[in-house]
Symmetry: C2
Subunit: 591 residues, 2 copies
């Protein structure tokens, strides 16, 4: 830690990154930020409404959840361009958590969603303050990829009922699909035309509009931004059609009356019972939201050579969620789509987020009467098109080729998410990753090594042509030694010495041993004793500094029959004489 | 696997070790085994009665649990001298598990204990058949040591009520002690004299008799065996006193009528409800029993240069427990005291166990009328003296000096066991060990390294005087790379390159990297991209064979801006030229 002058203000800036960028805010940055804010505001209106509906909440809560949280993140967060608000996966997880407690859309349901945001905020803050952000690392990349893909499928399926204008419900994908199928007879064809038409339009916008605009002479960035505003066109057009042709009378579900005004002041519940039933979900939502947000923030920061601080991000997201809880919102996090638009639109500082908040506040004061005629099917179409871009099964083939363990983790995550829902899915993914890791490290790679002729290098006798000696057995263990693999090493050495009558020395080569815990120390003592009673001395080589420091604090080195050598080469010089003067015991070809 | 003739009979012998030693059974071995069996039988009678009482079961169940299980273990087990039967810790765990379901001593209680043995046997068999014995390794040595110590305290305390002749109960040590204290007024002084007298006698036998006998000219082994028969003298003497002076009429609790006869045929319950409530306890009892048994078996096998096969041990113990369930027993495992006596008495093959079983069967046919006058306080005294030798707090100071992580695990285990009972205690111990391990491996040791002058060795710049170069940064990571530490490495490298303007190459030295999972691969790709955009090339060195094989299956090596070097020395020769020709960047003294 620096003790120079200015350290304390730097310390403050660490917890309030706004002090850092706020000081050097230029008129140029102001212009860029304002531009970006206008674009993001327009895009956020339909997106926020849609995700609130996905979460089973009144549409205006999506707008509310985008206003105060974005400002709080701007003050406490470290990413310059992250846009915080409702996102698809977190909305789905909110629906799953709150749906267990109350009927969708009821006042209890809304109160639970607000409380969930509060708990999630508290948990994120606590992780940030105690610098426990590393916990999120236990959610491996493949598990996240699998989880997001499975969630995308669940979300897209859940929106089909709005596209068809029918009812459907179920606790998992199978039940829901069945219920959807049963009610297929109730399909409202006007709704289908609006929903499927919007979806087709949005797919075309995503794939075809961009090249078309570039073909017409637009530069890639504005072309991209216009293409991303596709949902706004769809919303405006279908709202106009619904108003003109009175779709409401034709059985098309419309968003309906949305209260006009700024976000209301709300209070989370402090019922212990409610907290108990929500706390598990809050933890899962926080971690998933954090991981998603950090990966978006890191990707965008890398493009501008900026760094983000994951522990401070926890504080930023925690503040945003607590803000959401007090202003009629629900759990939020940094969203991919909105952040990318913000970035592409040229946002330079988090102030762009604050201006977006102002834009959304104006919208919620003025535009709500127009939203009443917006068909729900249009919003469902925007959700489907957005989440289908998240669905990516390539992680299955990638992990299959690269590492079967990761493949198992991904498959379990996808299957558990689809079959048993988001919470079971993500928990299963984390647990299976940890179990596989523990299993693998409990069976470390152990190899007998010999000297590569003419060098000081020692390699696996099964992979390289090497020189070995009858009197010396060198075993290299490629893992830290700890309780789960200590007995494995004992077994390996006892097996390796069986039948080697000329053996005088066993050397354990430790270049990959970063730690030896108490259980492993006891195993080394047992090996030493066992070898001693057979008249074989036991040596260590290439023991790392920190491991050696620790061994010096135990009795092991006093009892060790052999020595500890700095290098394996030195050990062989001393124990076996110069390699050349002796014939190799065996020399196997490379495998 | 060998495909020669005889392989199939070896294969059979693997699952039926009796085929191995049975074939070469000699008259000499028969004599030794018979001698040992007589000694063990005499010692087992009081011990078996005592542990059944500790488990809250009728005393004869302790004898029954020693007959058929010991024979089944002799057939299926791999240790030549392990004696299977009731042991202290497993008896305590049985009482804890069954006590939750039924009132102590009631028919339901007995039925649950029998079912517990059955479930435990099934679980052990399953682990053995699927070769999952490695799972027991997750119970680290310090956790076991702490658990056994805490269990010893609980057992000794629980027996105080029998020594005092009063009632006491409680769900944990605190409640029990309080209840004991409240009922202190009911103390029966004759009972105290019998109990405390027996305990004092047994302590003296343990410490003082052995030297005395040796002083009288006996050889150490017979002296040791006589000393171990101490409980038999105490039992005989107090039984005689109780009969002579009619202790029963003076309020001394006696064992009372014990049915005379061979073990009865019993059936475990197949109630799903009972199974559900016992299965967790069965798993814990199995694992604790297995670990205890294997460590006894390994210790004794090592003294005779024999090997035991942990997976086959599971099958042996599984068969023993299933046998116990069908013959009026309760969960059993290999006991330390009985096995050591068996070993010291000269048992040569598992046949000694079978003869012991015959001896016990004869005892249960003939001696039971005598047992009626045996004071329970004498049995309590034998238990207290036996378990106090298990109590050993030195593990706390040992781990404190050697490794704080192990110290935390031991402390948590001891405290949780004392405060919340055996099941919570052992579970907490396992979980905390795994959590600490995951935490540590998520923050691997990463060091910047330089060349030791005049050698091909590269060491930590903070610990050794080494040569480094401005254009080359070499980072050695001392752990396999996986999801939990992948981001840590990214952060480390990004921090390390900050402000190093002359940097042209970053080398990741991987001698300790035994695996790179999908998440870590993605992190390496991210590092490569990030360095590329700063004009720095990224290299790997000393990548192990299996890791390299896997990297070759990914796209990473195509995208890598630098190379993969077989040795770090080679990397430096190529990237920085010969070390001598350049001035060292910095040379720090050894720390």
């Amino acid at each position: 830690m620096s003790k120079k002058a200015g350290a304390s203000s730097r310390g403050m800036a660490r917890y309030l990154p706004v002090l850092d960028w706020g000081r050097s805010y230029t008129p140029d940055a102001l212009t860029s930020d304002l531009m970006a804010a206008v674009i993001v505001t327009i895009m956020l209106i339909p997106q926020s409404l849609a995700y609130a509906i996905l979460a089973g909440l009144p549409p205006e809560m999506g707008i509310y959840a985008s206003i105060v949280p974005i400002i709080l993140y701007a003050i406490f967060g470290t990413s310059r361009v992250l846009a915080v608000g409702p996102v698809a996966v977190v909305s789905l997880m909110t629906a799953a958590a709150v749906g267990r407690i109350a009927e969708t859309g009821s006042p209890d349901y809304i109160a639970a969603a607000i409380t969930l945001a509060f708990l999630s905020g508290l948990f994120l803050l606590a992780l940030g303050v105690f610098r426990l952000g590393f916990l999120a690392n236990f959610l491996s990349h493949p598990v996240i990829a699998g989880f997001i893909t499975a969630s995308g499928i669940i979300i897209a399926t859940s929106q089909l009922k709005h596209i068809l204008g029918i009812q459907a419900s179920g606790h998992n994908l199978y039940e829901f699909s069945l219920s959807l199928f049963e009610n297929l007879g109730d399909t409202n064809w006007v709704t289908v035309i609006v929903g499927a038409g919007s979806a087709a339009f949005l797919f075309w916008v995503r794939k075809g509009l961009n090249p078309l605009l570039i073909g017409l002479g637009l530069k890639p960035r504005p072309a991209d931004i216009i293409a991303r505003a596709g949902p706004v066109f769809a919303v405006a057009l279908t709202t106009l059609l619904a108003w003109t042709f009175d779709f409401g009378a034709r059985g098309v579900a419309l968003v309906g009356d949305v209260p006009r005004g700024l976000p209301p002041l709300t209070m989370p519940s402090f019922s212990l019972e409610l907290w108990t039933s929500l706390v598990g979900s809050a933890v899962l939502i926080s971690i998933i939201g954090f991981v998603e947000s950090v990966s978006v923030a890191q990707t965008l920061a890398a493009r501008k050579r900026q760094r983000i601080d994951p522990d401070q991000e926890l504080i930023g997201l925690g503040a945003a969620n607590i803000g959401a809880a007090f202003t009629g919102g629900y759990p939020v996090t940094g969203g991919f789509a909105r952040s990318v638009v913000n970035f592409d639109a040229g946002a330079e500082t988090p102030a762009a987020g604050a201006y977006t908040a102002v834009g959304l506040a104006i919208a919620s004061l003025t535009l709500t009467p127009l939203i009443a005629y917006l068909p729900v099917a249009t919003l469902a179409a925007t959700i489907i098109v957005a989440v289908l871009s998240l669905v990516d099964f390539s992680i299955l083939s990638k992990t299959w080729t690269y590492a079967k363990a990761d493949f198992i983790a991904v498959s379990v995550t996808i299957l558990a998410t689809l079959a048993m829902g988001v919470e079971v899915g993500v928990t299963a993914g984390v647990l299976i990753s940890i179990l596989i890791h523990l299993y693998k490290s409990s069976r470390p790679h152990v190899a007998e090594v010999g000297q590569v002729p003419g060098t000081e290098h020692f390699r696996n006798i099964l992979r390289h042509e090497v020189i070995t000696h009858d009197e010396v057995l060198t075993v290299r263990v490629d893992e830290s030694l700890y309780f789960a693999n200590a007995r494995f090493l004992e077994d390996y050495i006892y097996d390796a010495i069986t039948g080697r009558q000329d053996l005088k020395h066993v050397i354990l080569m430790c270049p990959a041993v970063n730690a030896i815990d108490m259980s492993a120390l006891e195993s080394l003592e047992a090996i030493n004793e066992r070898l001693k009673s057979s008249g074989v001395t036991f040596h260590l080589s290439e023991v790392k500094g920190p491991v050696m420091d620790r061994l010096l604090r135990s009795h092991f080195l006093n009892e060790l029959t052999g020595q500890v050598f700095l290098s394996q080469h030195q050990a062989m010089c001393e124990l076996a004489g110069p390699a050349k003067s002796r014939p190799p015991r065996k020399t196997k070809p490379k495998e």
